[in-house]
Symmetry: D4
Subunit: 251 residues, 8 copies
């Protein structure tokens, strides 16, 4: 990982101590409370996304500033309405897009390197839409072609078939469902595409808050369905990107 | 419920104390450890079924004897292999039928009053079959016409449609599923028949032992699915009987 | 299901592509975020009910509009006070009824096809009443004769007997209980009618939020009790309708 | 508690160190792995009962020996069949009584001081009987008059009323139930006696292993029901003794 | 229970139908949503306490009115601050006492029949005080002598010994604890009095909301501790009353 | 999906009824208790794997026979030692391979169509090896090149780095871990490859049986990790195959 | 513990009763609802910290007053914003420091006896910072040298190595993490220092609210990691102090 | 960590590739299924202990062989009786010690570097003894002076005080408790020593299998108690060693 530094060390250009410092300074920016992971996109193939939940307004803004300065773009997830407003006020003049509890801020004309690929994004119900929109926005910012079909739950099974027919030329599918969480299994049983299941915190009573959906997705009889945590829209996008990158590399 | 006794009391035929005793003696047989509910079939429309789990061999046999003597027939559920053998040895010469962990014993030529009706019994997997067989055996002993379709799970959705097509002329459906427990919801979304969902204790990991199936069935987006406890095959049969009785009464 | 279309296809009236489109267009209305299931009542014998929980104001209103336009009536469940007010404002002039978190809106003079039948609706406590009212309102809109007895919990067992005596000429009973959830079992032990148990999210401490009631109902020793999820008032109504339809068909 | 020792200390009869030793030696016997609480009966009004679960054969026998030597009687709970056999072999010649997983061993002619009082012991099912027998045996050894009524569950409610009528002249009731655990609440709603509820580990599926019964008993709508842990038969006996002692003291 | 009515029936004074009506009308007052249990105090030895949680303002006031009219006193539990204010406004002029979320309202000069007895009420922490105060207020209204010692938790064990020394002449002890819930076990290990343990919903993290305290109390090694649900202050009072009544009856 | 049949119908070659039958017969083989999904590999890109858990010996053998006859190869998972022996006896003469609880049986010279691709299979501990071996055997039978590194857990972090260095030229990684389940997150943080996490049922105490590992994997801070159920080795293999198929298609 | 008093008793200086009173009065201050543990610092080596959660404003202020009067310093934890403000208003003029939900109040020039030692405080994320700050503030008030490194989570593993390098000359480490809670295990695997893991209530979905982090820390494969409850910042500080005191004593 | 290697690299003695290999080869021995962590004792101050649970006989023996060869001593935990026998047979002639499910094997005359220090090991009950013995054996092998007091549970509180008096001159205490798990808190409230709490899987019903004990220990009101997982005897020993090492270093 640090091959170049080691080489410099080996060639005597730098001291051992300098080597260590170089490695560290190369990788992160520090404030008192934040160590941002500026090169995460290089390492994991996915940009670091600021997770605002539990952060103060000041911490969130500081993180966004650092990213805008270094990368020209910042992704922030887990925002409530108040924090969203504060970001918009503070970064007035930037290009700002939002979906669900996610916001993307960028300097005019900043674009990320385009990632070719097509992803089908399907939801079981209307309440799952904000979650699907978060995942879609991230993917679209990375240049992915997203095909959305919403409210395709199994209570009206013709809607599910319709959803599949509209997305079956994708590279992979991401299927969102709360309540009993059946849809991802049904879709996966009808296709050989990779299918990522995202349980949403929709539901009540026994198995509510997405736990019923999660257990349905984990217990699935359909081999090959993979799952992320309840409401983990960022994780779903990142998993898609990992797969797309591998497809493109090979293609 | 005790109208005749009250009438006798009112007419002075019996004393208050005699009235009380009459009511009690009419309803149950007592041994030291058992108070059997001989007239449960009159009251709830369904015979008392001896639940052998946790009972000793002696308690189980004593209960069966009482029922055979009074009713000519005894149902015993929750039997392990050893207790089954003991029952068969002890009641050699009786007509004995078994399914899963359930046994029915009867005196030659004993038949219960026939209950007209047709019930579709569907399972998602092969592992659910012993559970479905228990419910079916009870229903068949009561004279119900049972149409069975097994291994119709949603991993191959054409099998599910096939199952429905074979049972859609029933009065009601009973659908068994373990693992993620999707099948009852799918079936219920395609029919207007009453559908009773029975989670089976099949599965592993998170949501294993039938809990995933149970939460799927309770969280269902399809209105009108009703549920019994994990593995409660007797309850499913009894619910079916309650509905069939009401249908026939009205017909 | 699509027999007529297949026939048209077989007779050469339409192309394969047209057939597919016809089937799809016949079944649902689409907006960007909603695929409403307009013919669910035909298929499942129960109208689609808009589940407002997690939907935005705009999504909810759009759904109601579609239903009013096509069916003249819309059911909306899971409404908080604010969304209720918005619906009433927006659909001023329509006939509006409400119970608990449920609202029914209809054009003057719209009535659904009457479903004959009588249902007993019983609650254990006063806190269960809003739930029972939701189920009752749906059933009454469908033309069912509902007999209500409230606050009949087992802490004063004479009240429970009274409740049964007032409802035992029904086609089926729906019994609501929170806390320890005993009442449905007690009622079911005394009648041969179908009994649907609805746990309500009333209770606190261990087994609170309805979980204690749910486990009581699932673990019941009384055979034939069936259960829906905690607070699933729509499911209980739909299950009742499935049974009533079957009774009437046969009658 | 140590008033006499303090007095001796104050009067100069003993040194501070002697005082400390006296206090300690007075209270317990020590082996390497056991510190038996010989005077627990004086302090808590209930004899120490050896809890054999998790103890080795040697540990169990050592404890019994100490108690027999000092008190002439030993109670051992939580025994499996093998350990029971070992105890009987080892203590051949002693008076031995057993119930469920409990054994009482005593030297001929040993009797504990008689505790006057009458306790009604009721079970919901036959599977609860071994648990009730454990509690009863302890109470009877302490001289309490125990009135037992078994298999009185609410599935046949007349049996429950019968049970109460047979025990309502007791000082208090102990009611055992597994499955949905309704019976203690029903009994408590009909009497003003103290009622101790004991959930038993009988049941399956959701709320199985006694958890459903426990939550029913804790969530009860009937004020004044008190609960011990699932299968805690010793605790129920001890609670009864605490109450009886207080009643007698006052009487 | 209905001996007098049965006697009238037997003597021909009344018809069977009249008997039934008499029994029912004697026992309860009905409004549309409430069936109050006016004679519960006779049957269970404890007044019915209106549980306001989940009831509307109107339902709560209606219940209070009925009780004030018939009994001159009303107990209401589970009140939030807003409902408390409404009650005080509506019943201005009545004697009103409150503790925690409980309110007692009575007509001037109404007193319940005095129940002799002394109860020690102990809390582990200061946060448990409002719960202890609820139980105490009920007991004091019933005439019981309550000795309170608060903040006696085991983190400073001398406080616990002090608490016991102040209450050991009581008829029974009620001990409140949240967090790890140790105190009731410690107290019970040092006394032979009946001890009722009340877990309070104080705590956080794993075992928070009182679940840790509950499991500590149920798992206790000290025989004879009995438990009510988390925060069930009314149940603790009622259990105390059941025991006190039995003590006094005998005395 | 049924385009050819619809075409035949449109062209009048077959009747509507024949069309339906053709579709059904084409897809599955039926015995009384099994409906095998012979063409699942076509639809989902992965062969149906017989899940032996809960199946009787006879059911398992019948399933294997059908697959051997039609496909020349059968995969059976969830086998205990006894069932494994029975299969080996019954199918003596066939090529048999096994790993963990999985067995593959095939007719001499049967090979599946080769799926190009390279998968890194990593375990945290030695106890996870049997699970990893199951997944590897399936993949190898499908022609995938599997690179295994075992016992690379984070307690010795150099082992983890070593594991990654040996597998980073794969198309994707599958990482197995029980206990606290850290390894998949660590690996995923250091690579941009797709990473599938498989929790194994290794561990004890709180979070034992794999639940701790599962929650670690779902809660991961590293974006893009996807998860299957505890011990779901077949699901992991199938997910890998879905991704590999998509990569190859594109390549 | 009470050696001096016993000596006085032995020497006849005081009566038995006086001895008892002396012991009690020495140890605590009483108000009606509080028994403060003034000498806890002597006994446990750590000052009593007022836990404000669940206490009223009046109770909190009363406790603070007592401590300020007797010790010149008061620690209060579990404060919400409103209570913080009230404390600052009421104790205007005192030295006040705050961190997270903790406040320290002291009279000018009050300092506690200095505890030598160096503690490394590390957090995985920014959201964990307020928790780490609480622990740090307590330690710093006690004179401990605290070295903080924040946002060092494993998603960017170089940050974790950096954190260790900055703190490895400490006496012990305290590591805070929410979400999947990996960091403490990683740190502990690389050092032989004592490591205290503090799960924070950061996270969502399955294993949210800190439960996933807790189970990771308990299930750790790295021997020697010790854990406190979710968010128990006071407990972590106190554990550190216990260890530091022992180190210093020995040094 | 790799300073010497880096130096060699810097000085040109070795190539970059050699450096990497050196680092890796230095740290571990590899077989196909095992990567043993030979230098863990250097890094974490505690020897690697083979965790036999889930390992095959062959895997376990292979691990032991490697350790005996390299270190002259091997620790194996999580052994059942059968595996213990196999180890003893296979390594006949070696010095073998065992406690609970732990075995230590060493070549004659092998001794580890002595770690000075004194640890008090206390158990609440007799059933906790095997767990305490495991921890003690590890510590004693490392040269630690262990003072044991067993069966000191709080049901007889004088036993607890006795236990503390016997161990209060230790460097730290390790306290084992199952059931309600009170003892560690009580001990910690009376001493300023570091206290490590080990919940044992002793208990039944709600909070059984050690969960009740765990939650008691985590919820403790006594600041400074630290906890390891249920039954984690190795973790407790390792935590003690980390603390002792730090104390000695400083001393």
């Amino acid at each position: 990982m640090f091959e170049d530094v080691l080489r410099s060390l080996a060639s005597g250009e730098i001291t051992i101590q300098e080597a260590e410092e170089k490695i560290l300074s190369k990788f992160f920016e520090r404030t008192n409370e934040l160590m941002l992971d500026m090169e995460r996109d290089k390492r994991q193939g996915f940009p670091e996304i600021v997770f605002a939940l539990g952060k103060t307004k000041e911490q969130t803004i500081a993180a966004v500033e650092k990213f805008l300065e270094r990368k020209g773009i910042a992704f922030v997830s887990g925002l409530d309405e108040e924090k969203k407003r504060e970001l918009k006020d503070r970064f007035f003049g930037y290009v700002i897009k939002e979906a669900g509890r996610l916001v993307v801020l960028k300097r005019e004309n900043t674009t990320l390197e385009k990632l070719n690929g097509k992803v089908g994004v399907i939801t079981a119900g209307t309440s799952d839409v904000p979650f699907a929109e978060e995942t879609s926005l991230i993917l679209e910012e990375l240049g992915v072609n997203v095909q959305k079909v919403y409210d395709a739950g199994v209570a009206g099974i013709h809607r599910s078939f319709y959803a599949l027919s509209k997305t079956e030329d994708s590279d992979l599918l991401i299927v969102f469902a709360g309540m009993e969480g059946i849809l991802p299994s049904l879709i996966a049983s009808l296709t050989d595409l990779p299918v990522i299941a995202v349980p949403t915190p929709v539901g009540y009573g026994f198995g509510g808050e997405g736990l019923g959906a999660l257990s349905t997705m984990l217990q699935t009889c359909v081999p090959g369905l993979v799952v992320v945590n309840i409401g983990n829209t960022v994780g779903a996008a990142a998993a898609a990107v990992r797969i797309l990158r591998r497809i493109r590399k090979d293609g």
